[in-house]
C-alpha cells in the first residue's frame, strides 16, 4: 500500500520535502516502516533516533499502520 509521510526537521531535508509518499506492505508495522525508510534513505541511519507519530500520537514499533492514518516522522526534538 502507498502511505503518505509528514516529515519535519532533518527528516524533511532527507526527503527534500515535507510530504513523501512511500510504498509499504499491507499491515506494515512501525518497525517495518523504519526499516523501509532506512533502506530507501540510508541517511535515516545517521540520526540519533527517530520516532513515528500516528494521528499526532507517538506509537511503538508494533503499531500497525493503515492508509487513512496521518503518519509523521519525528526526528530528535529540540524545542524550548
Amino acid at each position: 500500500m502507498e502511505i503518505e509521510l509528514l516529515a519535519f526537521g532533518i527528516a524533511k531535508d532527507i526527503f527534500g520535502n515535507g510530504i513523501q509518499k512511500i510504498t509499504v506492505t499491507y499491515k506494515c508495522s512501525i518497525k517495518d516502516l523504519k526499516q523501509e525508510l532506512i533502506s530507501k534513505y540510508p541517511k535515516f541511519q545517521d540520526l540519533a533516533s527517530f520516532a513515528i507519530a500516528v494521528n499526532s500520537e507517538y506509537q511503538a514499533d508494533d503499531f500497525v499502520l493503515s492508509v487513512k492514518d496521518e503518519i509523521a516522522i519525528i526526528p530528535p526534538v529540540s524545542g524550548g
Binding site: A53, S56, E57, I74, G79
Partner: protein
C-alpha cells in the same frame, strides 16, 4: 486551567502572567527561554523553530495537564514560538501560579524538561560555518 499557544508572533510574558494570576496564588514562576549567542563555543547567528503544529499543541497540553496532576499548582500558561528568531528573542515562556512557591518552581522545571523531550518542535542553528538541526545526529 491551562493556556497553550504556538505562534510565529513575539511571545508576550505579561499575557501569560495575567492568565495565571489568581487571588489564591502566592507565587508565580516564569521560565523564559532566550536565544543564546553561542553554542559549544561557536557563534550563533540566529535560530529557526519548526513545529508539527497539531501534535505539538496536543503534546504541550498533555504536559500541562500532567503538571496540574503532579503538583499543587493553580494555572499554567505555555507559549512556544515558531519561525526565525534572533539572539535574545524568546522561543518559549512558561508561567505557573501556585499557593506556595515550591510547587510552582517544580512544575515550571518539569514542564520545560518534558517539553524538550517530547514536543515535536525542531530547532535549526545558523552558525558561521553552516546550518544544523540541533540533536538530530549523535
Amino acid at each position: 486551567m491551562i493556556d497553550i499557544k504556538l505562534s510565529p508572533e513575539t511571545l508576550n510574558l505579561e499575557s501569560c502572567n495575567v492568565f495565571v494570576a489568581d487571588p489564591a496564588a502566592g507565587a508565580i514562576v516564569n521560565f523564559i527561554g532566550t536565544v543564546r549567542n553561542e553554542t559549544k563555543k561557536q557563534k550563533v547567528l540566529r535560530l529557526e523553530f519548526e513545529a508539527y503544529e497539531k501534535m505539538a499543541l496536543s503534546e504541550m497540553k498533555k504536559i500541562a495537564n500532567q503538571a496540574l496532576e503532579k503538583f499543587d499548582i493553580k494555572k499554567i500558561a505555555l507559549h512556544h514560538r515558531t519561525g526565525v528568531l534572533d539572539i535574545s528573542e524568546i522561543p518559549v515562556i512558561i508561567s505557573v501560579s501556585s499557593a506556595h512557591r515550591k510547587a510552582a518552581f517544580l512544575a515550571c522545571e518539569f514542564i520545560i524538561d518534558t517539553l524538550k523531550q517530547s514536543v515535536p518542535i525542531w530547532k535549526k542553528e545558523f552558525l558561521e560555518n553552516g546550518e544544523y538541526w540541533v540533536s538530530a545526529t549523535p
